[in-house]
């Protein structure tokens, strides 16, 4: 599988969302989901990425069920669920196959986004696994104090709420430490920055972009 540049994947992310909005048929949405899963599979993702896909699929299923229960038609409910899945799966693909520092470099040097905003975006993405790891540590600590992670869902939810506060406090504390660390290493420096990441576009990127452009134009005309 050719290695695509981060910029291509960013454009793909936007393009897939546009396709999801342009395609009016359920079969088209299903094709987009299958296509993304195949694309993800070609990059040999690790278990946690498949877990993320499963989580999104579950969430999409819930969305379908809620829409259907509250009076929407089955086809409309399925369309909503699949659209959500299409638009979110592409982020899993991008995050699973792109290093965050490459993404920052692409946003700054190619998309001309100010470094501070690009860094904020990628840092926010980095907080998700950190948050999950912290959550796991607290749950392990709870288990060592006799808490059993099954049973009444309401009780489990209430117990989980109890750990949200320390998690948020720790996240704030960590972000403060990180901010200080960044300032101490010249984060606020004005002027040109040097990135070590190679984010230059190559032939496969141009081919992929041409494909995305043609498909978008085609779908717009058909629509």
């Amino acid at each position: 599988m050719p290695k695509l540049a981060p910029l291509t994947k960013l454009i793909l992310t936007a393009a897939v969302s546009v396709w999801a909005l342009l395609i009016p048929m359920l079969i088209g949405q299903i094709a987009l989901v299958v296509g993304q899963l195949l694309l993800l599979g070609l990059y040999r993702p690790v278990g946690k990425h498949w877990k993320a896909v499963s989580g999104l699929a579950l969430f999409a299923g819930l969305l379908v069920a809620i829409q259907y229960v509250f009076g929407s038609s089955l086809e409309f409910s399925l369309m909503s669920g699949f659209k959500m899945l299409v638009m979110s799966l592409v982020f899993v693909f991008m995050l699973a196959t792109t290093r965050l520092q490459d993404l920052t470099a692409a946003l700054v040097s190619q998309c001309r986004i100010p470094y501070e905003y690009a860094f904020m975006f990628t840092s926010a993405l980095r907080f998700v696994p950190d948050f999950l790891e912290e959550s796991k540590a607290v749950r392990e600590a709870q288990a060592c104090r006799g808490y059993v992670f099954h049973g009444n869902p309401v009780k489990r939810l209430m117990d989980y709420i109890a750990i949200v506060e320390p998690l948020v406090l720790r996240a704030i504390s960590r972000s403060e430490t990180m901010a200080m660390s960044l300032e101490l290493r010249g984060f606020g420096h004005k002027g040109r920055r040097q990135f070590t990441a190679d984010v230059a576009l190559n032939r496969p990127d141009y081919a992929a972009m041409l494909f995305m452009l043609l498909l978008t134009i085609g779908l717009t005309i058909v629509r």
Binding site: C144, G146, A162, E165
Partner: protein
């Protein structure tokens, strides 16, 4: 014959995409022991304790707690007998007062109200936290937070405490107080497994030491045997306590020769400083 509390037999564990972390480790802990588990970073110490607590499951091997196989047990089951204190106290504190935090474990284990109150009061008293019962745990010092974590563990009335580097990041005075507390708990019959890098603490408090090196148990005996000088403990990433290093340097000195003694002492201190540098 001492009663075996925790028995680990031929334990094998490997993390995903990593070399074997533990290779057929045998490790038994008897009632009332104060065992130090040592070794360089990545030697498998924390992994072994996490396996003992059922936080992770082994690839093969057997762990028994008071003769019962723990294969099907959860950490919550193990918590009835073993109190586990993590290295970072911040990760195990999630209530807004010290008293609520300490009471969490006994509540989960279904203690009767009177027993629960007694247990919490005892744990707070043992750790010197009675005055801080209504304090917000996050605003306490690192040493006090570690005491909260220990109080939370002992409030469940465990037979054994496992502590993962409890003195790391603490000032010497807090570290000393903590070790005195553990010693006191051990005197009251609680078996202790202490994961540590601090050889001074081992020499002073442990009744037994197990050394792990690259996933293998390479030593199991008393601190005196470990520091006797007959083993190359540096190869396991360990340094002898200062007193031991000095005594080894001075072993062949004729005490009547004061000048030579002084020279040897100075040399030993310098080498010790170099070791730490």
């Amino acid at each position: 014959m001492p009663e075996t509390l925790l028995n680990i037999q031929k334990l094998v564990f490997t993390y995903k995409n990593a070399e074997q972390t533990l290779a057929e480790v045998d490790f038994a802990v008897n009632v009332g022991e104060f065992v130090a588990l040592v070794g360089r970073n990545g030697s498998g110490k924390t992994t072994l304790t996490r396996l003992a607590m059922s936080l992770i499951k082994p690839a093969s091997g057997k762990i028994t707690l008071q003769g019962k196989d723990t294969a099907a047990m959860t950490p919550a089951d193990m918590a009835r007998s073993i109190g586990y204190v993590f290295q970072n106290p911040d990760r195990q504190i999630f209530h807004d007062t010290v008293a609520k935090e300490v009471a969490y474990g006994p509540q989960q284990l279904g203690f009767a109200p009177e027993a629960l109150n007694q247990s919490v009061a005892w744990a707070l008293r043992m750790t010197g936290l009675t005055e801080l019962a209504d304090s917000f745990p996050r605003l306490l010092s690192r040493g006090q937070k570690q005491k909260v974590a220990i109080a939370s563990a002992i409030a469940m009335q465990p037979k054994m405490l496992i502590l993962d580097e409890p003195t790391s990041g603490q000032d010497p005075w807090d570290g000393h107080n903590l070790m005195e507390l553990l010693n006191s708990l051990n005197q009251q019959g609680i078996t202790i497994i202490l994961v540590t890098h601090d050889m001074e603490l081992i020499a002073k408090y442990a009744t037994r030491v197990a050394v792990l090196d690259r996933g293998h148990k390479v030593f199991d005996g008393t601190p005196a045997e470990l520091f006797s000088g007959s083993r190359d403990i540096a190869a396991w990433g360990l340094l002898p306590p200062t007193a031991v290093a000095l005594s080894q340097q001075l072993a062949d000195v004729n005490a009547q020769n004061a000048a030579e003694l002084l020279k040897k002492v100075m040399l030993a201190i310098k080498e010790r400083s170099d070791d730490y540098a």
